[in-house]
């Protein structure tokens, strides 16, 4: 009895530190801080000037919009590689419809977003029907979408690229550089952070996502609509990819069949560096945001230093490994810290 009450005491008086260490984003925060300080020292004042900030924020925003739903998918125990093909497919859909054919921009945008939602729906449906790992299903889908994009583009326009001149409104909403250097996409990313934070951490659906990633069968037995949820998550990631495709077309005023593949691994890296467990069931939106910032800072920061730009890849690779190792130990700490103190 005495041991029980003293255990109660000790866990009551646990410092805030214990609480913080349990948070899934703790490791990624430390990593982000380390990378920031590293480049601040290595690159000097330029890295922390507004030009420095804008260079990595622009990158972070584009990847970040995709990394957020990919993070949710990975927490739910799935992957989506097809985003790499959806981004150029969306750009080209918009540029072909509204640029080449001169139809209203709204039509092109809706078609691009609709294409994204449809691909996501098929991804989710196939994963559920076939029972195959989503890694395989979405790789297949990536090639299908790539092939269709190329085929339709050549068939309709006789070319593998198209140009578009954004209207003033789209230019302002999607293609603008605020202050001459900050892409307006950054604000869309901030909005997406709020939305995904709400979904994962505030609404009850977040609980379903964690349960789905923890144990799919137990989640279904608990009455969670696991099939609907899985399909919705795939639709979210492909919708986000389509959105990035649209915003790229508006920013660069052109679209190519190729491009976008880098997003596949980059988004997964942001998510993993952000503390999401590869096996699902654990992670946070704030962590994914930290992971994205870390990735973008390394990606761009290297150009502010005198180092060989190839060093950037090495740093990213090392960070990824470090992140996985750290995530694992933070997770162990999260699981153990109270019991350890009590016994």
């Amino acid at each position: 009895m005495t041991s029980q009450s003293s255990a109660t005491e000790s866990s009551r008086s646990l410092p805030a530190l214990g609480r913080m260490i349990r948070r899934p984003e703790m490791g990624s925060f430390v990593g982000m801080l380390a990378v920031f300080l590293f480049f601040w020292v290595a690159a000097g004042g330029l890295f922390v000037s507004s030009a420095g900030f804008s260079s990595w924020l622009n990158i972070a925003a584009e990847i970040g919009i995709v990394a957020l739903p990919i993070g949710l998918l990975m927490i739910a125990g799935e992957l989506d590689l097809s985003i790499g093909a959806i981004i150029p497919a969306s750009s080209l859909t918009l540029a072909t419809i509204s640029g080449y054919f001169g139809m209203p921009e709204a039509v092109g945008i809706l078609a691009a977003l609709g294409m994204g939602l449809l691909v996501g729906f098929i991804n989710g449906w196939l994963v559920l029907r076939t029972g195959l790992p989503s890694l395989i299903v979405t790789i297949g889908m990536m090639f299908v979408v790539m092939g269709l994009t190329l085929g339709f583009s050549v068939m309709l326009t006789g070319s593998t690229s198209a140009t578009i001149e954004p209207s003033e409104l789209s230019q302002m909403l999607l293609g603008q550089f605020v202050g001459g250097m900050f892409q307006v996409t950054i604000f869309w990313w901030l909005g997406a952070i709020v939305v995904f934070f709400y979904i994962l951490h505030v609404s009850r659906i977040g609980n379903w996502i964690f349960a789905l990633g923890g144990d799919r069968i137990a989640a279904r037995n608990a009455g969670i609509p696991t099939e609907k949820l899985t399909i919705s998550l795939f639709m979210m990631s492909s919708f986000a990819a389509a959105f990035v495709g649209i915003s790229q077309a508006m920013v660069y005023q052109s679209a190519q069949v190729a491009g976008g593949q880098a997003f596949i691994f980059n988004s997964i890296m942001c998510v993993v560096i952000g503390g999401v467990l590869l096996t699902g069931g654990f992670g946070s939106v704030v962590g994914v945001v930290f992971g994205t910032i870390t990735f973008a800072m390394v990606n761009q920061g290297i150009y502010f230093t005198d180092f060989d730009p190839n060093l950037g890849s090495i740093i990213i690779g090392a960070l990824l490994l470090l992140a996985v190792i750290m995530n694992d130990s933070f997770r162990k700490m999260a699981l153990n810290y109270t019991t350890k103190k009590n016994s």
């Binding site: 923890g214 144990d215 989640a219 019991t339």
Partner: protein
């Protein structure tokens, strides 16, 4: 006698050509613990999976409160108040106590078109529910399930089932992976659930644990009911023998006894 909460009548289950359960008839009453004993492979898990709606019986009837039931899926059984707690308790090791307690039935606060997961209520309810079962060490609903001890996890899972109105509690080897102290804790919780009037099916192959909590015992051998008796009708040795399917165990025990004797003789000689 009162109507049993759950009754099986001549239940058979085969997987294709493999007959796993033969003609099982059993009754469990409210406030009673039925111990289901049997060696590995005897069919205990298959039996409870049939009760939990995971498998459908090949023939025979399952009745609840005297009324025949047909389960299409586990959810149907859960909706009727049949709740299964597995060996390792919670299935979501990386979720917090409060969150996992309410998986699928999350409390929310509505605010216009938005709804917020009510973490405070979830945590408080979960902690209160498990504390009522005497697990006072749990006082923080934000702790992760994976950080709890095996006994605490069992307690939490049982408290959860009771909280959500379970009438039949199926415990699949809840004490198998636990140390002596933790196992005693879980047995106490089983008593507590029984006191609250639940019908409990307790699966184990530890005869001592069965004899501590059981009111009623059923021994499965190769899918058939080999014995069905009440507390006090058989001794521990008899039950052990039954489970082992005959004389083998008695022989082994006498052998061990003679070893132990010669062992104590040599050690006393050494002193």
């Amino acid at each position: 006698m009162t109507t049993p909460v759950l009754e099986l009548r001549n239940v058979n289950k085969s997987f294709g050509p493999i007959d796993v359960l033969h003609d099982i008839s059993l009754k469990v009453h409210a406030g009673e613990v039925l111990c289901l004993l049997g060696d590995n492979g005897a069919g205990k898990s298959t039996l409870i999976k049939t009760l939990a709606g995971v498998h459908k019986q090949t023939s025979g009837q399952i009745l609840m409160d005297g009324e025949e039931l047909m389960f299409e899926r586990p959810k149907d059984a859960a909706d009727r108040g049949i709740s299964t707690v597995h060996q390792f308790g919670g299935t979501f090791p990386l979720m917090s106590i409060g969150r996992s307690f309410f998986v699928g039935v999350e409390p929310v606060i509505k605010w216009g078109p938005f709804s917020f997961f009510d973490r405070k209520t979830a945590n408080e309810t979960a902690v209160k529910a498990v504390r009522e079962f005497g697990i006072t060490r749990i006082d923080d609903g934000d702790r992760l399930i994976g950080g709890l001890s095996g006994g605490e996890r069992q307690a939490l899972a049982i408290a959860r089932a009771v909280h959500f109105g379970a009438r039949v509690l199926i415990l699949d080897e809840p004490t198998a992976a636990l140390g002596v102290k933790e196992a005693a804790h879980v047995l106490r919780i089983v008593f507590e659930a029984r006191k609250r009037g639940l019908a409990i099916i307790f699966i184990t192959h530890q005869v001592m644990h069965a004899m501590t909590v059981g009111d009623h015992f059923a021994v499965l051998i190769r899918g058939a009911l080999a014995a069905d008796f009440r507390k006090g009708e058989k001794t521990r040795e008899e039950i052990t023998d039954l489970m082992a399917g005959g004389e083998a165990m008695a022989e082994l025990e006498s052998e061990i006894e003679s070893y132990a004797q010669s062992d104590s003789e040599t050690s006393s000689a050494a002193q």
